[in-house]
Symmetry: D3
Subunit: 132 residues, 6 copies
């Protein structure tokens, strides 16, 4: 099994609903350093899982829809606790849609899995992993 990972980041504001969140119920924010991992069973004719430049551009495109925003005001995320793990799924699912729409070319359709990790600090991160 092969995989390629690209890293980027986004900076967002948000708040949480629920006593478990303590002070994080207040409006605050986060930098998420985001790692997107693309998996393939075999390499393509160029010996690639995916072109790293192209993968980086797709990840940047997904993150640009979330970054520099207050997620509490985003219609697409209405009523959702945008925890690190939930946002990892949002990013992964949006990347998956792009891959399935051909954004990574025909080769992208040979990808078998996708994992997205969001690092919220130097001491905590979350991952969502899915099939493609």
């Amino acid at each position: 099994m092969f995989s390629v990972t690209v890293r980027d980041h986004m900076m967002i504001a948000h708040s949480f609903r629920g006593e478990v969140f303590g002070p994080a119920q207040r409006l605050h924010g986060a930098t998420y350093v985001v790692d997107a991992t693309f998996r393939r069973l075999t390499l393509d004719d160029d010996n690639l899982v995916v072109d790293i430049g192209r993968a980086a551009r797709e990840l940047a495109a997904v993150l640009s829809e979330l970054s520099y925003r207050n997620l509490d005001d985003e219609a697409a995320l209405a009523g959702m606790n945008t925890s690190t793990e939930a946002l990892a799924q949002v990013v992964a699912d949006r990347l998956a849609e792009r891959v399935q729409a051909g954004a990574l070319g025909d080769g992208g359709r040979k990808l078998v899995g996708l994992a997205v990790t969001l690092h919220e600090s130097h001491i905590a991160w979350a991952t969502y992993e899915r099939a493609l």
Copy 2:
């Protein structure tokens, strides 16, 4: 599959028995930077795998039982070569006991797996992974 990871550390002394260990047969020590990863198939009602603060507190509690100690003198580890990989299992199993005793709440019982990585330096680390 979702996961959340929290990072902490412990500082211990120990020695090893067996020629394979070379100079590490002498009493020496290590800082272990410890990553504990909790896995769940779906998120809970708060959109979490586990509350990061609560997970961090449980990891800190487990590490406080080992840190600032000479592991050669710990009754619970008597006769054991406390290699990085063996200690990863000790930490994981103690965390698992806490989870099963309800330390992470009812949601903790929905966790399906746990992985613990101990980084012994910038160039070596070990992981133990188990079901929950």
Copy 3:
């Protein structure tokens, strides 16, 4: 010259005023991983610049006054563009006040300098350095 550095973090929301900030004029947020460096010309009687545990507690106390907040609503920061470099100064000056008030003990008064670095992502950080 000796120095000791401790690392912690804070998670905040804020927005910027000024065209130079582009999309960062919108309400967004950041995790700042914060490094506080304490400098002394010679070590104290315990062979320390500062006790690491004590330094970490003071840094945590300063960060707890800022973390999990929307800095746009903080009276102490009213009318201020809370850029990474400006916040580095805020944190450093508040730490310096604590040191000068004796929070690090008598030894703290022998400190000659303080530097605070705020990492806003894996690709950008800022530092403010001052005398004590």
Copy 4:
């Protein structure tokens, strides 16, 4: 499941063939920071997956055959696009050969898997994972 990882690096020149590679079709180079992960279901009599020193020596030996070279001129890689993911497989397969030849001792034959990650920069890396 247990694993142990050791890190080393190599510095190589190479070029790629194929329009997808853009400017990387020119002769350029890379530092690959290489992580080799060895997996075992249970620990050996010394409580190890593999001796870290021995694993590090084998990894260094494999990398010394590639480092400080122009991979375009290596007979063993003739006609191959030496992408990060393809090189991860080269390193993993050469390590596997050594393990199977007994380089890690009898215990090495109990290893069940091997993963090799090549970090080409702070924002991109690739992994190849195989059975042993």
Copy 5:
């Protein structure tokens, strides 16, 4: 004193002349992870040392003139051993020229110093520091 640092990278091939370089006399290559630090005594009217986005674009522009190239063939570097420390100076001097030509706006002329660090691996890096 304030500073802001931005990180980027370049991937190059080169070789060295001189016995001290051992195997690095052969054509090989490196990824340099590059940190550029800009220093100012006071902040500008926007509370900045330099706009991070603008600083990142200037650094990227300088690196694009070197990246994906064999430095042995670059006329501007003819006859030069392109060691990590020497390249740090090349990058710093080219950035300084851009700053002095106004690439960072009028505020850029208030910068007092510039430091460039090139990381050649996880275990070695070099810095060149100069006035502006």
Copy 6:
């Protein structure tokens, strides 16, 4: 001003005397990831501050005298609280002696400064800086 830094590590046991140390008064240990920085005003004829391989070997030699030991039993450190900052000085002074004895060649005598940083964990480190 130019500098070159090399990284290595050591693993030691020790204990501290003094109430300020709390639980660290017990025998425990640490991995110190050690960065040694060599400074020169100008480059030598090979365009180097110091040969990275040679610098790495000298650092390794100094660390091998401390690593895999209980520092409480080292005659050379008798009666000394081997805090991170104090050990940074020990490593720096021993490196300086080697440089002054010619271990880095004639060029080593042109070095003007040396800094040694010991990272005791992901959240704390200390530096000692001296002239040469």
